[in-house]
Symmetry: C2
Subunit: 347 residues, 2 copies
């Protein structure tokens, strides 16, 4: 059932290497059932939607990735924030009273966990468009069926050089864009990083993939391009979704048994396939460095200092304390126990 | 100047591993200047041309690859052979008198060497279409400018999962086909073989790529499909044509200094970039086995027993004696000397 390869992992964390091309049976792809377009990346999905809907305001939670902000053309729409607290919950819906007809409200399914029940319908009562951002929730099964749009990203869940999906709930909705292929040179660098990481996982050696992946990320196109042929084929034919989901869930449970007191999400509802295992730590940077020293590389989602107003104090506090422990399908119970032991040893 | 990687070669010969994605300057691509279509493989280029031109007869040399024969739909055209001798020369042009207007004449640029001068024009005087088959001559510079069509293949010259080019000399010629992408599952197996060979070259280990490449080859589509996006990008941006050509020419010269008496082509004209170094050996199979024992894998181009009429005795004799020594850009002078020493040691 495990997706883990027979090769020992060189490190824990970091980007995924390019997928294997073993024969797999056809996989059900729930997010490709309805109306959708296949894109190079998620940020360009937001860009595309904003350009097409032209909302006066785009409402975003106060805890988010900078790429979402970059995606909004300030000549088209104004970004408005609504509050998300230290538990990633929405403490009040008062802000909805300022939402105007035709605005776009974005809700994030953080780390694979469902968005606040009722929020979508409340926003729709204001005649707003609603986008459920499932960039961290590709494999989760509990998406809100009422949101007008869903946005998914592939790279955080398996090894592809690019890939995102923007889906519309209304089968009559027409996406207006004619999409060109991903920019050639950018895309080949993205593939290069995937290949080098794949080979690093098998052989070890240089970590060029890290430097290249950072370059690729910072140069990612904002304007909409279609998903590469290679990523689409991997998406359709080469991902064992059930095994990946099961492994992530099992790893999350292993961490939860050992680190429940630190968990941002201390229970795992049915249907959730987690991106990682976010914890909150008073001495986050020291713990992170200690994990780095052990070749374990948990990311920070996100350092929001540069782009979220300081008035959202709970979000900034969370951003200082949060650390996403790695629990994806490349790793097994032993890796999780080792991670948890290091974190507990620092308490 | 050398294209050889810094990793030691595990073996000499066999398919190319997937190319690296280092940054390269833009490359001149002479065969993409004019009217052309990008295809999955060369055999489907012949298929496409035959379906479009619908010649009563397709004239092919008596020394050729079986895939060319498979490409011709017998419901459309009849295959006629013209003689090619033990030196791969055309001993007589008498057969041209049987060529009818609208027939298709195919000339092969064997191993990268030019076709018989004047043949194209002689066939055109019969109002025939002429295709110069450059499947073995992708990098050679001395193509016949008068042939109506040129056919190229990528896989024999560098590491791509698929790829061929069919070009027309007349810019007004319109290829009629609407091309779909390569068949998904077949193509992913082709990519798998390329990736596994790439990794074998770096790590060694299992030779699964060999088995998979054979499966891929035998299941290659005959009906025309377009070149994959990945192969097209490699073709356009990731091949250092000058270095590859220089390395192949230098390797050929190294072999020629040591094995001139066995060479099918005892001199290398300017502009020729050889596919390999074909020799003729009385005890071909014994020499080949000895090279196999030393991890050197020269192919036989071709075993024509099953598909060329027995009356072409010189071609059959050549097919029994020929062996293509490997001299491509993955290998250097030392590899060539080692190959030559084994062959000479058997004399």
């Amino acid at each position: 059932m495990s997706e883990r390869t027979s090769h020992p992992s060189q490190i824990i964390g970091g980007m995924f290497g390019l997928e294997d091309f073993r024969e797999l049976p056809d996989q059900p792809l729930p997010y490709l059932q309805g109306k959708h377009i296949l894109l190079t990346n998620a940020r360009s999905g937001i860009r595309l939607l904003v350009e097409q809907l032209r909302p006066a305001n785009v409402w975003m939670p106060s805890y988010l990735c900078s790429s979402m902000i970059q995606a909004v053309n300030p000549a088209v729409s104004r970004i408005r924030f609504y509050e998300v607290d230290y538990d990633l919950e929405i403490p009040s819906l008062e802000w909805l009273e300022s939402v105007q007809a035709g605005d776009l409200v974005i809700c994030i399914a953080y780390f694979g966990f469902p968005i606040l029940s009722g929020l979508v319908n409340a926003a729709m009562e204001r005649a707003a468009w609603v986008l459920e951002d499932n960039v961290q929730a590709l494999l989760s099964l509990n998406h809100d069926p009422d949101a007008h749009f869903q946005l998914y990203s592939l790279r955080k869940f398996f090894g592809v050089p690019d890939g995102a999906i923007l889906a519309a709930t209304d089968p009559g909705f027409e996406f207006s864009s004619q999409l060109s292929p991903p920019p050639s040179r950018w895309w080949m660098q993205a593939l290069n990083a995937s290949l080098l990481r794949r080979e690093f996982d098998r052989i070890g050696g240089e970590r060029d993939w890290f430097r290249i992946a950072n370059l690729v990320d910072s140069a990612a196109p904002l304007s909409p391009h279609r998903m590469s042929e290679l990523s689409e084929l991997i998406l359709r034919y080469r991902i064992d979704y059930q095994s990946i989901s099961a492994r992530r869930i099992a790893n999350y449970q292993t961490l939860l048994e050992r680190l429940e007191h630190l968990a941002l999400f201390p229970s795992l509802p049915g249907g959730v396939v987690p991106l990682g295992f976010p914890v909150r730590l008073a001495d986050r940077d020291r713990v992170r460095q200690r994990l780095f020293d052990q070749q374990i590389y948990p990311p920070v989602h996100w350092d929001i200092r540069r782009y979220v107003p300081e008035s959202f104090q709970s979000s900034h506090r969370l951003s200082r304390d949060i650390l996403t422990l790695v629990c994806d399908q490349r790793y097994d119970e032993e890796d999780m126990c080792r991670t948890a032991a290091i974190v507990r040893g620092m308490e």
